[in-house]
């Protein structure tokens, strides 16, 4: 077995726990002393750094939730000096304001290191040609995997998203051996290749796929592996944690969460109490070495379970099972997180339509499609079809700007969409994973 950093990856469990405790202790003291946000939180919660006497004491610390990041917009929670910041990434918030994550050089380094270990554990290395088909830019997927693949010495093809036929041509012509993208996009690549008369299995050198940023299933993995003749690995991470960071190892039995980087808990989302290993609950993560935007007991909203038993691959770090759902109403459309509250927020700014809406999500071929139905305001009616089409375009454009996802828009008659008395159920998800 080849490990990127055997000293850490194969470290005996007891030693790893000692290391985690040490890092946690340093982190808590640092935040108590230097972070207004965490200091106040700890005081309100009645906990002092001295109360953390063992690793299990992490549960004494308060949770952090996504809205804390929104309230801290843009950099109120940062603990690095401005000149130490070398990068910002921005992801969707639950309403108008996005979530901002800042990075120091060390933060980028740890993120990249985490991925270098992960990609190596999937069997990738210097001889590989890696096509990064995640979006580049503010989204962490593209640049994250780009830096990770570059660190292990692979040849990186920064293909980004879109232009599927060109992606397939590049894959074939540049003898690409590994691709990083969403599982649905890879399925779409497979379908498009078939239409072009190209078999990914027989006509390309592809042997590995690193897939993530949206939910998928073991059945889908089997189908992709068989149809494309490759091994498909699951990758996990959100921008709050830094970005995509953890993958399955060659055993494909859950992703190793590097203990020196992340301390993982699984809790009951209702009670906030820990659940036993192997039981499902919400994943809560503390990033132990993060300088610019410290993350302590962050409630990811992802539902999964933890497995601390030894892995066949020899790595001692705990494994997290494939995600099985969300605690909240967040949707993931083509790898992008979408909250129905964002749609509502966007529609409020468009006088031609009412704030009443419905979202339908379905798959066309392998790709997610999101349809937003909105009601035309009677005052905006025109007998010119082009005027109505313009309103549709405007809604589509506004939503695309807000969500970073293209949506179909259907203009409906006033009063034709359902009204809700209690909790609105505005999403109909027809996708089968």
């Amino acid at each position: 077995m080849i490990a990127w950093d055997p000293n850490i990856e194969l470290m005996p469990e007891a030693e790893l726990k000692r290391m985690q405790f040490k890092l946690l202790k340093i982190l808590v003291y640092r935040l108590y002393s230097f972070s207004n946000f965490y200091h106040n939180r700890m005081v309100e919660h009645g906990v002092h750094p001295d109360d953390i006497t063992c690793l299990e004491d992490v549960v004494k610390l308060p949770f952090m939730v996504k809205s804390d990041l929104r309230d801290g917009y843009p950099d109120k929670i940062f603990t690095a000096e401005p000149e130490e910041l070398v990068r910002y990434h921005v992801s969707s918030g639950t309403t108008g304001k996005p979530t901002v994550v800042g990075y120091t050089k060390h933060d980028l380094d740890m993120w990249t290191e985490s991925l270098a270990r992960a990609l190596t554990s999937c069997g990738l290395g210097r001889g590989d040609v890696v096509q990064v088909a995640y979006g580049y830019g503010l989204f962490t997927g593209g640049l994250g995997l780009h830096y990770g693949a570059e660190r292990i010495g692979a040849t990186v093809v920064p293909a980004s998203v879109g232009n599927t036929e060109r992606q397939i041509e590049l894959m074939q012509d540049l003898r690409v051996t590994a691709i990083c993208c969403t599982p649905s996009y890879l399925a779409h690549i497979g379908e498009t290749a078939t239409k072009m008369g190209i078999s990914i299995k027989d006509d390309t050198h592809l042997k590995t796929a690193i897939l993530g940023a949206e939910p998928w299933s073991d059945q889908m993995r089997e189908r992709i592996e068989e149809e494309l003749g490759i091994k498909a690995y699951n990758i996990y991470g959100t921008s709050e944690l830094s970005g995509p960071m953890f993958t399955d190892c060659s055993e494909q039995a859950g992703f190793h969460m590097w203990g020196d980087i992340a301390l993982v808990e699984i809790i009951d989302p209702e009670t906030g109490l820990s659940v036993p290993d192997g039981e499902r609950g919400e994943m809560v993560v503390t990033i132990l070495q993060k300088e610019a935007l410290p993350i302590v007991r962050y409630r990811t909203g992802d539902i999964t379970s933890i497995d601390r038993t030894p892995c066949e691959c020899g790595r001692t770090h705990p494994r997290i099972a494939r995600l099985s759902g969300r605690v909240d109403d967040m949707l993931i459309i083509r790898g992008i997180n979408v909250f129905p509250s964002q749609v509502e927020h966007a529609l409020l700014g468009i006088p031609e339509v009412s704030g009443n809406f419905m979202i339908e999500v379905y798959r066309v071929g392998a790709l997610d499609q999101m349809l937003v139905k909105v009601e035309l305001n009677p005052g905006a009616f025109s007998d010119k079809i082009n005027d109505i089409l313009d309103i549709r375009r405007k809604v589509g454009h506004t939503l695309k700007n807000m969500l970073n996802v293209s949506v179909d828009v259907e203009i409906r008659e006033p009063g034709s969409l359902p009204r809700f008395e209690g909790k609105a159920k505005r999403v109909i998800d027809r996708r089968v994973l």
Partner: protein
């Protein structure tokens, strides 16, 4: 029952959205002595489709095609409307019950009554249902 008798050939002409196109079409038909019985324009992004019922569809097709226009035939039906309140409702209900979708329609006032031109997704069933319900359809002969 001869359904084809009630299947009227509408000519549809592609036209860019710029001055003079309609005049060119109408002028050409006039030159050929072709009479336009009903007529509508549908607009889209930078172009439109001119739809017309004429007394000599084949001749119109030939002429416009020779002039370089893009022309095609579309099957429509022509319903004679009773000139009383609820006339349209009656007709629309018949089609609605049979789950026949009206894709577009336009009307003209004929010699005796208003005539509704309908483009539907299932022409044959529409003809059957309307006749069965006692409606009056114009036939190909009425237009020549």
């Amino acid at each position: 029952m001869d359904i084809t008798k009630y299947t009227i050939k509408q000519i549809s002409v592609f036209s860019e959205n710029k001055p003079g196109r309609l005049a060119a079409i109408a002028g050409a038909l006039q030159d050929e002595g072709i009479n336009i019985l009903a007529f509508s324009i549908a607009e889209a992004n930078g172009f439109g489709v001119v739809r017309a019922l004429v007394d000599l569809p084949e001749a119109a097709y030939k002429k416009l095609n020779a002039m370089g226009f893009m022309v095609s035939f579309t099957d429509v039906i022509a319903v004679k409307m009773r000139d009383v309140p609820g006339g349209l409702f009656e007709m629309a209900s018949v089609l609605s019950e049979a789950e026949i979708n009206i894709e577009y329609s336009y009307a003209y006032s004929g010699r005796e009554a208003a005539v509704l031109i309908l483009r539907v997704d299932r022409v044959d069933s529409a003809v059957e249902k309307i006749l069965a319900h006692g409606g009056t359809l114009l036939s190909v002969d009425d237009f020549s």
